[in-house]
Symmetry: D2
Subunit: 323 residues, 4 copies
């Protein structure tokens, strides 16, 4: 292998740039040429491809977002799209790929390999931490810290006005972001898709808190919760407690940006190195991850189909700590 | 005057605690006794009043919110409420008041003084900066920096995905928060209540930007804008540009909390000192403010009725800088 | 067991308050009474002991430092000191202890238990991460992020002026803080006590960098490095490269403070719960830790005598990534 | 005037990039061509000059440092150096200059104009705020906030260990940075070059504090103080109070970097626009500044020779607020 390509795909996550940097420099370190592909599979199809050197990735380790841009590609879902992508890679002499992204990205890579045989190694880049094959995904720690910083600010005002705040955090179908936000944010209640937390339970907890002289409350709602969005949940609770002074905050896209945390820079750097080394070892269709502080490669198919379960003791912790 | 009271009222703002600290310590420094009144006028009515010492306000200068809590009081709008408040102050021997808040707070203080003659000096505590009689209000600089920090994060993701973001910031009926967020956040468009910025203009600017190879846009919307909320504006624009990849973020209550900035701590400290010194000089029904770096006392009635105009050149700046 | 005591000892670390909160609330949750002991073993000797309730620890999860204060105690090293401490605990009816601290703290606890038989469980509270029996200590993640944030700022100015910066970070005899600072900070060289990195090597790397068109450099120096402090190392290098534009920054005590990160709040909360549950299970002289995301109790004697080794591949990463 | 050049010189300051951006875009907006000159006067001499477009300055408003790099130039102090610089400007067709820097920068610009008649307008870019002709310099607000954030962290540990911390901040010969750090940081003592604060006074204040039950102290030392550095002052005090538990922290270059604050981005943007507009109006050898929120142009010679005095009431504030 002489020349590899790198791209980011799916939702952006802090640390993607740190990972790109590690990939480029590990390639250079090992005598490989490395090309950047812009806008994920779309850029592969359109040939938006350029040579990267060690200096191309100077001073990006601390930047949020992705210098390679990201996009979801409808065209790559078609045979014609993938054919065009292959032609471009061939024209540029690219013999291996590193894909930074999530399950959509790896699904595409799997099909592409079957059709055209270009080996691909993936790095888990998503704030949601919902990928099997790694304890943490790149961007997760930063997103949690960003959300927590916002929750700290909200608590200032919740506390001053003795209000109930319903704060919605990201996480798609999982409570991975919500849980540390609730525990670290000193929240009284957490609502995640993995557990059933009824509106009645919320009301009960609020009433129990008031009776224990608590004057302000924070309820963390994961965006995928089965009871609905934070706005919907607040409305349901307000129906039964009409005089509750409630406010809703949806943290939104703020959680995707910002300088990556130390942990995300470490993880992104380790996995970026591992992706290139994996390609050099002849691996393909595997995602590099860290499990129990050890490097592990997991087949794409498992990262997509297997589920990473959240530690069930964590919701119990919220109860104990808000006593 | 031997004994004064201090309270916070209306929406909380970062720097209120720094102001409380300055008031308490200036009182102690001048040999006055000082009592804290919790929950604004409500606590005055209920007698939720306690003695404060120098150590009571240790280690609070950096804290968001208000240790005296805040609330809006319906009861104080009634004669009975104000009578009860007066009785409490009399019972506690409080001969002067310092009120940290906004126009609602000062309106109440004006009526109260007419009825009961307890002198009151005010400090402008609101993130909205919409009070006449001071260049900046306590909390404004922090709120702008908090919003800007969020906008920086949003730009990371806007840039990576080449999207249009509509970001709603606070400010009640003014664009004071929106303007520095737009200029400092590198936004392409700003929509504030003070100027008419039509949906057509927004669309024109977006199209002009795309034609100049801009790929991502940030539109800052002040919550009081005449075209509606960020959600409504985004919907109106999307109707005419259906394939626009747009996202809406409402920064919300995050803007009210957090450690106050250096400027807010300075301002809060200066004004806290000035409030107590004003009372000692025999002033009443005036708000302490800083205009052109000089201390100025302005009658409450002027702070309520006069309007502080935003510099009209600022919206022009957004146009120039996004060229 | 009906009543337990909690104290912090040794250098303070962010997250100690989150741990105190978890200990107090878990005690309350389990029907135990809990007393706070101020200033570590000193307060135990002097009887500086007070009852804590659930509300005592409200709104402290996000605070740096320790509300229980910390101090090193010479008196506790004497038989008389420990006798006095025991008398105080007996007088207050305290039957079990939770100690948040490091190896000095646990050494004291071991001796104390042998003499007086009061069971003690420890939580690892130190920014240095140099304790055997847990992957991470409470405060470590925050300290690394604080240092990294400072290094990001230094890189701005290093880059603008094309200088060589020698940045000294904490860590006592270990490179645990230095390593992620170097990798995450995009440093060119890292010097830690665990490895021999000679002055000649530093000079070689600088010259190699200049020849590859690098214009600015960051050298991270762990405070315990065998070549001396950052100041000394910079002087040695300058002697051989007199025209090098070098600057030294010693991050110092800034690294000990600040709001704990999400990871530190989670860890502190988990371990705080585990300490109380450990006492209730009849454990003593053990430290609660998290290894591979599982709760583990390790005898104090092992945490003191065994060494936690740093992953040797990490220094190699610095070389690859600064290519 | 058809083509202008822009450069940064002297110590870097946060907001320089925001200013460069405003200069470039205002030039483009007004139909001017604009060239960037790297490394200050050095790059002018060597012809390190490149064309800048609107997109060249995309996404830099939030970045610390200066994309144009900065350096001090010995060569420009010579006639030959300035001759070479002039030849380069002539060769590139540059008819006007915008210089972002401090008094050294403007001194050079004055001599250069006398010799070669190329009009130059300056923007005050220095964290020290020691330039006459503007209330605040670009970078000052950010540097103060950065220092204050560090002081907040130090107070956590000072408070936990009941120590005396001597914290040295930047500011060259002025106390502009020290004063808001002391007031905003809740410091007990501030030592600045503009006032005589003796070691005896420091000792007296510490003893008075201890007698009032204060247990921790922060002393802010401006780097130019007449009693010496923080290290020297701490040593002098320790000589007379040997059992004082004191620590010294020198904040150093961290204060120069980081994302500019909202106020600095506003100021940098306003002044960048004003520099270009000043050139277009035919001005030269003047610095753009903001005094009392109004744009003011001040001759370079005045900015260099006149002194901006610090408000003398500020040191008094430290005394009142630490009572």
């Amino acid at each position: 292998m002489k020349r590899i390509g790198v791209f980011t795909s799916g939702g952006d996550a802090p640390g993607m740039n740190a990972c790109i940097r590690a990939i480029v420099r590990t390639a250079v370190y090992n005598g490989l040429e490395v090309y950047g592909i812009r806008r994920g599979y779309n850029g592969m199809i359109k040939g938006d491809i350029f040579k990267m050197e060690s200096l191309t990735v100077s001073n990006i380790i601390q930047k949020g977002g992705t210098i390679l841009k990201s996009a979801r590609s409808k065209e790559f879902a078609t045979k014609e799209g993938r054919r065009a992508a292959y032609e471009q890679l061939k024209a540029h002499g690219i013999e291996g790929l590193v894909a930074i992204g999530g399950d959509g990205t790896f699904t595409g890579a799997n099909i592409f390999y079957e059709e055209y045989g270009i080996p691909t190694i993936g790095a888990p880049g998503t704030i949601d931490n919902d990928l099997y094959g790694t304890d943490y995904t790149i961007g997760y720690d930063t997103a949690v810290n960003t959300a927590l910083d916002a929750i700290d600010k909200i608590r200032d005002t919740a506390d001053s006005h003795e209000r109930v705040f319903f704060v919605e955090v990201m996480g798609r179908d999982s409570g991975y972001i919500a849980i540390p936000c609730a525990i670290g944010g000193g929240a009284e209640i957490v609502m995640i898709p993995e557990t059933d937390t009824s509106i009645d339970y919320v009301i009960e907890q609020l009433r129990a808190g008031w009776s224990r002289s608590k004057t302000s409350f924070i309820v963390i709602v994961a965006e995928g919760d089965e009871e609905g969005s934070a706005t919907e949940i607040a409305a349901k609770v307000s129906q039964q407690i009409p005089d509750m002074d409630a406010r809703v905050t949806i943290l939104g896209h703020v959680q995707r940006g910002g300088a990556p945390s130390a942990a995300d820079r470490m993880l992104a750097s380790q996995l970026g190195i591992a992706c290139v080394e994996g390609l050099l070892e002849g691996r393909t269709n595997e995602m590099a991850g860290i499990i129990n502080r050890e490097l592990v490669y997991t087949p794409f198919i498992e990262t997509i189909t297997k589920q990473k379960l959240i530690n069930p003791s964590f919701t119990k912790m919220v109860d104990i700590l808000s006593v």
